[in-house]
């Protein structure tokens, strides 16, 4: 068992936990906005929201699983810690950028809808 295997075993649960937690929070709090977009059709909102959550999980967890093939070989413990932190940081930053992008689009769509009505 070399350093790479250890780091994979540590990395996968941490990043999965973060992804699942963030997705769950978005699922809970995004329902209000979707309800606005679908003009208070509650059943439709819940269905669409659930499907969006599953799609989010599949794509994000798949992408993070793919990224472990791109790592360098790790030789020592300090290299392991630095690689680990940089990759974790990059992934979380990417997630946050997508998150702000989503907020922007929600605001944009809502504003467009309000000007129509």
């Amino acid at each position: 068992m070399n350093f790479n295997v250890i780091i994979y075993i540590i990395y996968i649960p941490i990043i999965f936990f973060i992804m699942i937690k963030v997705g769950w929070l978005l699922f809970k709090n995004g329902e209000v906005f979707l309800c606005d977009i679908f003009q208070n059709d509650l059943e439709m909102t819940q269905n669409v929201n659930k499907l969006l959550l599953i799609g989010y999980y599949l794509i994000n967890l798949g992408a993070t699983t793919i990224t472990i093939t791109l790592w360098d070989n790790v030789e020592s413990i300090h290299e392991m810690i630095s690689t680990f932190s940089s990759i974790l940081g990059k992934t979380i930053l990417l997630l946050v950028i997508f998150h702000y992008n989503n907020i922007f689009w929600i605001k944009f769509l809502n504003r467009k809808k309000q000007t129509f009505n």
């Binding site: 659930k50 794509i59 798949g62 699983t65």
Partner: protein
């Protein structure tokens, strides 16, 4: 020894992939029922039948894709594959299949929403008439 590890990898890969497909299509077409009822304007028998047919079509597409993606080709001539390479290859396979499945799910959702919009826009000239009668 190397080929044994690849066989183990296949036996880990197959249940994950098939389970994922079954779970996703079950969830998708459970929600799809309400869309279908909207699209077919309340004709429930037709809607449920169509939903079922789409669900049956969804399994072969995705499981077929999973079986195409399954072959681990880069190590087949070599007898040494260590655990690290095994984990990386499995991550690549399962991750790419998961992304593919997510794309299919979102595509289906998009098609549902578009069809619903089309139905609603064609229905609109008729709907103001009914309250007046």
């Amino acid at each position: 020894m190397g080929s044994l590890k690849i066989i183990i990898a296949y036996f880990i890969y197959l249940p994950i992939v098939i389970g994922l497909t079954v779970f996703v299509s079950k969830k998708l077409f459970e929600s799809g029922k309400s869309f279908m009822i909207d699209i077919f304007r309340g004709k429930e028998a037709t809607a449920l039948a169509t939903d079922k047919l789409f669900e049956v079509g969804f399994y072969p597409i995705n499981i077929g894709m999973a079986l195409i993606l399954m072959k681990i080709s880069s190590f087949s001539n070599r007898y040494e594959i260590n655990n690290q390479e095994l984990i990386e290859v499995m991550g690549l396979k399962i991750g790419s299949f998961s992304i593919y499945l997510g794309m299919m799910l979102l595509l289906n959702l998009f098609l549902f929403l578009r069809r619903k919009k089309v139905t609603r826009s064609t229905q609109k000239p008729q709907s103001p008439v009914t309250p007046n009668i």
